[in-house]
């Protein structure tokens, strides 16, 4: 462990050193004087303020968010002092004792409490199991006190009653790891313990300086009840409220748009302005991008990390980053705009709650991106078919047309009619003029006089803040679709993906479909912070053990072992055909995109042609399906995959059909043919 840290430290210092080198080499290598280069190189930011100017402003923001920062990192703190059994230097006998104590404790506590805490307390009490248990339970209770302290300013009361009311609680869905019998024991202990109330504050959270003491007092009355909620862990809704009720809502937003619309730059800029990117890094990017003559890409480099992406100046795979707004914790998924990488874009969009469509307002660029063949249309259609209903349209690069209102209106008018046709409600679409490179109207109201003349709407950050967070079906059986499998640090390997349904907690046994193998979740990390539990809607990285890495691939689904996800190679779907060059017939080979999975499939039967608006049957067994038709078809996939009926699980019931790099249809699974 310690060695790892050494390496990490050294790496950091290397980087600093590197940076100095880059700074030097720029001066030494270029034989042209900077003024000469400026003469020959196009630099869009030239007539705007210097880059360093923005850096200062970024600095300001950082100061502001400073007091927010410790709060965020708080939950991680207790886990950061991770104790590995091996690192404790126990001899064999003691280790055996420790293990048996841990097992006994786990019998009672389940996996609600992290192993580190267990180990610590066991060691503290010299392997005395009863004492350790006492202490843990005491601490546990005191932890409850800690939870509301994290963000006392936020009115938790407004959120709490909303959630349980909206989600239909399904009591039969039971988190598997807690057996009811042990709960009774916990209860018994609790009562006794709360009376003597000798809880010593031990977790770092308890020792943390709490910001507003006054607020706690008012909530103290409520806290008496909270331990009971903890016992009732069987109800995921309550646990969700407990864990997340006080947190900011998590919102996943996918950034889409035509190639070179400035998606990465816009997001990179947003992150910089919000102070999520350190000045040092940014300076490095600036130097490096200047070196290869692409200074305008410096912000994009925040998200485009691979060498290939930087050299070519395009995003190839979905980039991820996160920031916070007033009310939300936003995770952005920066999708590639290039037509060749639409499969990657679908992966990203499949995980998102809302979308941000970036439009290049430059004359000619918008037109080429929007006309048939441009990705603006296809992306918008795709995200709509993937279930995204709220959309923000960032009309980017409006500085190139001098913030002309005419241009803005022209673009929004065209988009409005198209988006309406694509199925977006007018009320769910917001249009924001902005510029990614200059940072105009991103996080602050605009300064440009030309823009101020006619625009008084919200800035981009406010628009993002105003999105509604969709319902999280936490009480349904677990479904988590895997979009990446990789080796993590330490034992086991990691799968990352989005929890579509239900919740995943540390120590859970999950079934990996379609291979149907059992695995155990060793640890979960949520947005780069380790966590004990993940809920529906979260993007998590789970370390799992018990299966071979080769047997888990992208597109697998981690499922509840009791209520399993259906696995089939043949299903019926209702599809909407987009603009196709050739009609769809029986036997049409397609690529099927289902979550992150891409698999080749065949349309084996055309069952019925339906009326587009009414859904009435027009023709049974049509010969072929032309443009814009709606039909019921049967699809056979080469390999069995995990699909759900749309009415059961929306996210797993959606499929995209693509042929030769063009999306030809979007479908909803209506029935699963058991094979």
């Amino acid at each position: 462990m310690a060695r790892h840290r050494n390496v990490r430290n050294r790496h950091y210092s290397d980087e600093y050193y590197d940076e100095d080198l880059y700074g030097n080499s720029v001066e030494e290598d270029s034989c042209l004087s900077p003024s000469d280069t400026a003469q020959w190189m196009y630099d869009r930011s030239r007539n705007q303020q210097a880059i360093s100017h923005f850096l200062d402003s970024a600095n300001d923001i950082q100061e502001e968010s400073e007091d927010e920062h410790p709060n965020i990192s708080q939950p991680a703190l207790e886990r950061r002092e991770s104790t590995d059994i091996r690192s404790l230097n126990l001899d064999e006998e003691n280790e055996a004792k420790l293990m048996s104590c841990l097992d006994a404790l786990r019998d009672i506590l389940g996996d609600t409490i992290s192993e580190n805490i267990l180990i610590q307390s066991v060691l503290k009490h010299n392997f005395d199991y009863d004492k350790a248990l006492d202490e843990i339970l005491n601490n546990n209770k005191s932890k409850q006190h800690g939870v509301p302290k994290v963000e006392p300013a936020k009115p938790t009361l407004t959120i709490d009653p909303l959630k349980p009311a909206a989600v239909i609680s399904v009591p039969k869905v039971i988190a598997t790891n807690l057996e009811p019998k042990s709960m009774a024991i916990v209860k018994g202990f609790k009562i006794g313990l709360s009376e003597d109330s000798g809880s010593r504050p031990q977790t770092p959270r308890d020792q943390s300086p709490c910001t507003e003491r006054a607020a706690i007092k008012t909530e103290q009355i409520e806290e008496v009840k909270t331990p009971k909620v903890k016992e009732n862990k069987v109800d995921p809704n309550k646990q969700y409220n407990q864990e997340r009720g006080s947190d900011k809502d998590h919102l996943y937003i996918v950034v889409i748009g035509h190639v070179d619309a400035g998606k990465s730059t816009l997001m990179g800029r947003l992150l910089c302005d919000l102070g999520e990117v350190s000045q040092k890094t940014l300076h490095k990017y600036e130097q490096e991008s200047k070196k290869i003559g692409k200074q305008s890409f410096m912000y994009a480099w925040v998200l485009d990390e691979t060498g290939e992406e930087r050299v070519r100046g395009i995003t190839m795979d979905v980039g991820r980053a996160q920031f916070e707004t007033k009310t939300k914790h936003v995770i952005i998924l920066d999708a590639p705009g290039h037509a060749d990488f639409i499969p990657n874009m679908i992966t990203g969009a499949g995980q998102a709650d809302v979308a941000l469509l970036v439009i290049d307002a430059t004359r000619g660029e918008f037109e080429s991106g929007f006309d048939l063949g441009g990705q603006t249309r296809e992306h918008a259609l795709l995200v709509r078919s993937l279930g995204v209903s709220q959309l923000a349209v960032a009309v980017n690069k409006l500085d190139t047309s001098n913030w002309s209102q005419e241009r803005f209106n022209e673009i929004t008018k065209k988009l409005k009619s198209f988006l309406k046709q694509a199925g977006f409600k007018d009320s769910d679409v917001t249009y924001v003029p902005c510029s990614g490179l200059t940072g105009e109207n991103l996080i602050k109201p605009p300064n440009e006089p030309e823009l101020l003349q006619w625009y008084n709407g919200p800035c981009l950050l406010d628009v993002i803040d105003n999105f509604n967070v969709p319902e999280r079906p936490v009480s349904k059986p677990l479904r988590m679709s895997v979009n990446d499998v990789f080796k993590g640090t330490g034992s086991g390997f990691c799968v990352s993906g989005r929890i579509e349904n239900g919740m995943l907690s540390k120590g859970d046994k999950v079934l990996i479909c379609p291979t149907k193998e059992m695995a155990e979740v060793r640890s979960i990390s949520l947005n780069d912070l380790s966590s004990n539990v993940g809920f529906a809607g979260d993007q998590v990285v789970a370390t799992i053990s018990g299966v071979e890495m080769q047997n888990v691939s992208v597109g697998c689904v981690l499922s509840d072992p009791i209520q399993q996800v259906p696995v089939t190679s043949r299903f019926e779907a209702r599809i909407v055909v987009f603009n196709v060059k050739v009609p769809i017939t029986k036997g049409f080979p397609v690529l099927i995109h289902h979550q992150s999975l891409v698999e080749s499939a065949n349309i084996v039967k055309l069952k019925a042609l339906l009326n587009k608006s009414t859904g009435e049957l027009i023709k049974k067994k049509p010969r072929c399906l032309g443009n814009n038709s709606v039909a019921v078809v049967e699809i056979e996939v080469c390999r069995p995959i995990c699909v759900e009926r749309y009415k059961d699980v929306k996210e797993l019931g959606r499929v995209m059909l693509r042929v030769a790099g063009v999306t030809i249809a979007a479908g909803l699974v209506t029935d699963i043919v058991t094979t």
Binding site: M316, H338, V580, K581, V582, P583, T585, F588, G626
Partner: protein, 390 residues
């Protein structure tokens, strides 16, 4: 394939002697031989002999046997054809009616006797014996994490190697893992190409590398770099044979797009595969533009044929391999009558990607000379039985 002799009576029965010379000829033989035919070929059989004292010895003897075929097996990967059936000509080793499985061997003569040599079978013999040099093309369709190394021969597309790997995505701080995974993947693809069984650079005309995005360029660069590093003469000498084209994905059926690429067409215009893809495409275009002029399914085709409306008939060779003799006769009749009426008949190889698609599309499709909207209206309840029969 070499034709040794051909003796066919007026009523269509008779026998033909052939020598298969290439693996591809096995495919032709597979299409020629039907159940019930009599095949004579040299084979190896284990024979047990009992001496007068009662001890038995078994030894392998090479002998020529004639069997009536009961079962046909074709291994597409190894191009081996196995025929199982009863012996009908007794000799000193094998009794009458004993079962034997013939393995047809390259460069060994076999004689095929049929009760009826129809036009399709005879045509197959002609094409098989056509000495025109057939150009093989190797194609690698790939995307990140998935690659198919295929060999396209005149009548077959063989997947020589499929590489399916999991490549970790890029993520903050883990970029190396992604790049490492990619390199591993490229290496696997390169090894697959280098395996002499897969791609024989002496035979193939060109090696097509197709992928979406920059995967093909990255891969090609990687391969050449590796070749220089390891001083691989084979790759460096054949560098000019590589052809980089765009494909939408790494799945096998994107070969269809690859074969339509103008750059590829220029090189392989004479291969059957490209022609078939083009033809099928024109059928689909017709279906889009004038649905009353493009039909598929036996029932529709029958009716169109009655009206002598068929201009181009596309039919999969799978239909001629069907076990039901009556059905085969029907299909042969359609082919003959379309030819008689001046129509063009193209028999698709079901081993090509286009043929696979046609197979799914009931196996038979046609572009008509004039629109027949009345066909469209007549309720099409057929088709299922045919496509599900296999």
């Amino acid at each position: 394939m070499k034709l040794i002799f051909k003796s066919i009576e007026k009523d269509g029965c008779g026998s033909i002697g052939l020598i298969p010379e290439e693996p591809e000829d096995m495919w032709h033989a597979f299409n020629l031989i039907a159940e019930g035919d009599a095949v004579t070929a040299s084979t190896v059989r284990k024979v047990q002999t009992e001496s007068s004292t009662g001890s038995s010895t078994s030894n392998r003897v090479r002998t020529t046997l004639t069997i009536t075929v009961e079962n046909i097996d074709f291994d597409t990967q190894a191009c081996v054809l196995r025929l199982k059936g009863r012996n009908i000509v007794e000799n000193q080793y094998v009794k009458m009616g004993a079962y034997h499985t013939l393995d047809l061997e390259l460069n060994r003569k076999f004689t095929l006797k049929k009760a009826l040599w129809d036009s399709v079978a005879l045509e197959r013999v002609d094409t098989a014996c056509d000495p025109a040099t057939n150009a093989d093309v190797a194609a690698v369709v790939m995307q990140e994490g998935l690659a198919h190394v295929c060999l396209i021969t005149p009548s077959m597309t063989l997947v020589r190697s499929k590489i399916d790997m999991n490549i970790p995505r890029k993520r903050k701080g883990f970029v190396q893992q992604h790049e490492k995974g990619l390199n591993k993947f490229y290496d696997a693809v390169m090894q697959a190409i280098l395996r002499p069984k897969n791609v024989d650079f002496n035979i193939v005309k060109c090696v097509i590398i197709a992928s979406p995005g920059f995967v093909k360029d990255q891969f090609f660069d990687y391969m050449i770099q590796q070749a220089i590093k390891t001083d691989n003469k084979l790759l460096l000498d054949n560098r000019g044979k590589f052809l980089l084209v765009k494909a939408a994905s790494g799945f096998k059926h994107s070969l269809k797009e690859v074969l339509q690429e103008p750059a590829v067409l220029a090189k392989i215009s004479d291969t059957k595969a490209a022609g078939e893809v083009k033809l099928l495409e024109s059928f689909y275009t017709m279906l889009q533009l004038e649905p009353a002029k493009a039909f598929y399914g036996k029932k529709h085709i029958d009716k169109a044929n009655e009206a002598q409306a068929i201009e181009t008939l596309m039919i999969s060779d799978k239909l001629f391999r069907c076990q039901d003799i009556q059905k085969r006769k029907e299909y042969v009749a359609i082919v003959d009558s379309v030819r008689e009426n001046g129509g063009d008949v193209r028999i698709f190889s079901s081993m090509h990607v286009s043929g696979e698609q046609l197979d799914q599309l009931t196996g038979i499709a046609a572009v008509l000379r004039f629109p027949m909207p009345e066909l469209e209206d007549s309720d099409a309840e057929d088709g299922d039985s045919e496509s599900d029969s296999d």
